[in-house]
Amino acid sequence: MREKRTIIDVVWWVLLIAWSMAILFPLLWVFYQSLRSNPSFFQDVWALPESLNWMNYKNAWIKYGIGNAMLNTLYYVGVSLVLGTFLTTINAYALTRISFKGRKLMWALIMLSLFLPGINALIPQYVLMRELHLTNSLTGLILLDSLGENVFFLMLLGGFMRSLPKELEESGFLDGASIFQVFMRIIFPLSIPGIVTVAIFKFLGLYNNFLGPFIYLSDQSKYTIGVSMYAANQMMQYTSDWVTMFAGVMIAMVPSIIMFMFFQRWIMEGATLGAVKG
C-alpha cells in the first residue's frame, strides 16, 4: 500500500519514535548510571562520566550474591524446564494420540484449571508443601512447578502431534517397536518445533517467576536471581548504593536479553498463538 507521504506521517513517525524512546530510555539510563560512581551520580545525574566504573558490576556480583543466585536459578529453571517439557510432551502424546478409558474425564479436569485463579490455591498449596517438607527447598519448588498440567502447552503440542500421519506410528509398531520406542524415536523428534516453542515459554515463565521463590525460599543462600534482587532493593533504603543496584538489575536482565536475541521470532510467533486461541 504505497501512498504519498504527508505532514500527518510526520506525526505518526514521531509517535512511533516516542514509544521507542519510552522503552529504550529507562533501560539506557539505568545502563549508563550503572557505570558511574555514587558521588558523581548524587551530584548531577546528567553529568558525563569521567571514567567508566565497570567495577560496579563486580561489586554487585559479590554484594548481592549474584553468582550463587544465578547457580540457584540455573538449577531451578534448568531442571524444571527439562523435566516439565518432557512431561508435557509425553502427556500431550498420551492425551491426544492414544484413546483410553477416562481420557475425556482427564481432559475435563485439566480444563477446569482455566477457571481457577491461582491465588486461591496459594495458601493450601503452602500448607501442603510444608507437610511434605518441601518448603525452603529449590527441589521442592522444582517439583511444584514441573509436576502439573498446562492447558495451553498441551493444546499447542497436541495440535502439533495430531498433524503427524498415523502411519508413522503404525509402521513403527509393525517393525516391532514398543510404544516407548515409538514415542522416543518417532513422535519426539518430529515434534521438536512444537517442543522448542513450549520450552522457550517455560523458560521465560520460570526465569520470571517471582512469587513462587519469594514465598517458598527463606534462606538467602537459596534465593533465585529475582528474589535476591528484591532483597537487594529492600536494603537500598539503608545503603543508598545506587550504582551497584543499577549494575545488579542490568545483570538480572542479561538472560532475558540473550533469550530474546536468539529466539525472537519464535517468542513473538508463539505469544500470539495463545491469544488467538483464547
Binding site: L16, L27, I123, L128, A271
Partner: protein, 316 residues
C-alpha cells in the same frame, strides 16, 4: 527387518493373541508412566489445594495453631472489612485504566506498523515487544528508579524542564501512588498486543482498504470504520485477558509499594497475600475467604463480559 519377518511367520493364533495382550499391557504401562507424574502433580498441587481453600475459608487459623471451625463468620467479617472494599476499589481503578490504555496504544501502534509501511517497521516490532520478555521484578525495579524522589529519572526530567518538583516521591504519596502503578503495567504489556493486533490486521483483505482510499477516506476513518470492527473478536479477547489480569494481578504492587502508602495501592490479591504471607499476623482462614470473594468476582466478570461484549465476528 529380522523382527518383521519373524512376526509375519508366526501363524499360531495363540502367539498373536499374546502379542496383542502384550501390546495392550505395554500401552497401559506407558499411559501409567506418562500420565502419573504430571496428572498426579496437577491433582495434588492444583485441584486439591483449590478445593481445600473452600474449607479453609471456614476456619480461624493462623497456620500454626490448631485450626478452629468458625462457619461463615469470616464472610461476615469480610463484608464489614473496609480494607477489602478499598482494595476492590483500587482493582476497579486498574481495571478501568490499564486495559483501555494498553488496547488503545496497541491498536494505534499496530495500525501504523501494519499499514503505513514505514522504514524500520520490523525494528519497531521487536523493540516494542522487548519489555514483554523482562521479568516482573526487573520492570518493577526499573520503575522504582524512575519514580524515586531524589534521584529518579522522572524528577530529573521535570527539573531539566524547569518544573519545581523538589523531591517528590511518586510512589510515596497517596495521591499519586495509585496512578503511578498504571505506567509500569502499560509499559510491560503493550508490545504483545501490538503484535497480536498487527497479525490480525494483516489478514484483512487489501481490497477493502483500497476502495476506502479511492473514496477519499482518511486514516482515522479507516482505522475506526474498517480495521477495528474487523478485528473486534481479537480486541474483545484481549480486553478480557487484560481485565481478568488486572483483577488477579498484584506482583507489581507488591514490589513497588507493597500496597502503601497507607493502603493507597492495595489490591485484593495483595491483601490476600499479605494476610497469608505478610509480615503481620497471619490468618489463613480469613485470607481464603477473601480469596473466595475474588473467585466469585472473576467468574462474574467473565460471564458479564461474555454477555455484554458479544462475539460480533464480521464476515468479509
Amino acid at each position: 527387518m529380522n523382527r518383521l519377518s519373524r512376526a509375519k511367520r508366526s501363524p499360531a493364533s495363540g502367539l498373536w493373541k499374546d502379542g496383542l495382550k502384550n501390546a495392550k499391557m505395554q500401552r497401559n504401562l506407558f499411559l501409567l508412566l506418562a500420565l502419573t507424574p504430571a496428572f498426579g502433580g496437577y491433582l495434588l498441587f492444583t485441584l486439591y489445594p483449590n478445593m481445600l481453600s473452600v474449607y479453609y475459608s471456614l476456619l480461624n487459623w493462623n497456620g500454626i495453631s490448631e485450626p478452629e471451625f468458625v462457619g461463615l463468620s469470616n464472610f461476615v467479617t469480610l463484608f464489614q472489612d473496609k480494607y477489602v472494599w478499598r482494595a476492590l476499589l483500587n482493582n476497579l481503578f486498574y481495571m478501568a485504566t490499564v486495559p483501555i490504555a494498553v488496547i488503545s496504544i496497541s491498536l494505534l501502534l499496530g495500525y501504523l506498523l501494519a499499514n503505513k509501511g514505514y522504514k524500520g517497521t520490523s525494528f519497531f516490532k521487536v523493540l516494542f515487544f522487548f519489555p514483554n520478555v523482562l521479568s516482573t521484578i526487573v520492570i518493577a525495579l526499573l520503575w522504582t528508579f524512575i519514580y524515586d524522589g531524589s534521584f529518579g529519572l522522572l524528577n530529573d526530567f521535570l527539573r531539566l524542564l524547569g518544573v519545581p518538583i523538589g523531591n517528590f516521591y511518586w510512589l510515596g504519596e497517596a495521591r499519586t501512588a495509585l496512578a503511578a502503578i498504571v505506567p509500569p503495567y502499560v509499559w510491560g504489556g503493550v508490545g504483545l498486543y501490538v503484535i497480536i493486533f498487527m497479525n490480525a490486521m494483516t489478514t484483512i483483505p487489501k481490497s477493502l482498504y483500497e476502495s476506502a482510499i479511492l473514496e477519499g477516506a482518511r486514516h482515522m476513518t479507516i482505522l475506526f470504520r474498517i480495521t477495528i470492527p474487523l478485528i473486534m473478536p481479537i480486541v474483545r479477547i484481549s480486553a478480557l485477558f487484560l481485565i481478568l489480569g488486572t483483577l488477579k494481578g498484584f506482583e507489581k504492587q507488591l514490589i513497588l509499594t507493597n500496597g502503601g502508602p497507607a493502603g493507597a495501592t492495595d489490591v485484593v490479591g495483595l491483601y490476600i497475600f499479605n494476610l497469608a504471607f505478610g509480615t503481620e499476623n497471619h490468618n489463613y482462614g480469613y485470607a481464603s475467604a477473601v480469596g473466595m470473594l475474588l473467585f466469585v468476582i472473576l467468574v462474574t466478570a467473565k460471564l458479564l463480559m461474555d454477555k455484554y461484549m458479544p462475539d460480533r465476528s464480521v464476515e468479509y
